[in-house]
Symmetry: C2
Subunit: 155 residues, 2 copies
């Protein structure tokens, strides 16, 4: 088995995230889900992807607790895929990806949409990193520490 190198057991949280949503389609599916898409056919026609990999991705996202299948909702006894809180929690990731593209893309004129504050219609500010006390932090102001052992009995 050559196995696509799963990062599931890795101790790096970034690797662990990538294990769940680090493939070509998962984040785009989540992006559509955040816009309200729920049905297999909706995802398929909107993203234009092959149905078998859509099925595989949906299954994987459900397995990872990012999507949940709801029995129905709009009459038709079909299934639908709704984001869980964990799934909605990916929003900052999508915003970060979007802002990176907006800032650094070589052909920004090809970008069709911008994310705006609904109330004012103005672009949202760049994501910022702050300390607990509110100080603005740059990458150089941060460092990694070993995770402190939680005071709970070692599971």
């Amino acid at each position: 088995m050559v196995k696509r190198t799963s990062f599931e057991g890795d101790s790096c949280p970034i690797a662990r995230s990538l294990d769940a949503l680090g493939d070509w389609w998962s984040l785009l599916i989540i992006r559509e889900a955040l816009f309200g898409l729920r049905r297999f056919g909706e995802f398929q026609s909107k993203l234009g992807m092959a149905k078998n990999i859509l099925a595989a991705r949906l299954r994987s996202l459900v397995d990872h607790g990012i999507l949940a299948t709801a029995p129905a909702s709009d009459g038709s006894a079909y299934q639908e895929y709704a984001l869980t809180p964990k799934g909605r929690g990916t929003f900052p990731i999508l915003v970060a990806l979007r802002q990176w593209s907006e800032e650094f893309d070589d052909r920004p004129e090809e970008i069709a949409t911008i994310l705006v504050d609904r109330e004012k219609g103005r672009p949202v500010k760049k994501l910022e990193m702050h300390a607990e006390d509110g100080r603005l932090l740059s990458p150089a102001d941060t460092t990694l520490k070993p995770r402190p052992a939680r005071p709970r009995r070692s599971a």
Copy 2:
């Protein structure tokens, strides 16, 4: 050609970002680069990945303007790979991925490190989205607008 479905021409900025760094290794390479790694061998031994795909990824990242090859720096006439500003600009993406894992991972006890404010040693705050005027925004407070045509002559 079945081609890995490139998102290069896509108008969605998220898709465009994923086209550059949406594979299994690129973000991990960038993560190591942010920690100061620069040499081929350093990446290879730290990430434990096959050398051929490391070479392919480094080439791709250089092509995308995320890394740049510098002729030397530490005496040895070898090459090294340094982050460009565009590469350093991915930092919020990595932070978002990390925080998502810290918040939602099913086995958080396996996460080895936490990102802290260097000065105080305390964990950094969660990334927040703000409006231009500073109001804290939730996903529901935002919406997408078509990109306004820039007033510069069409390049």
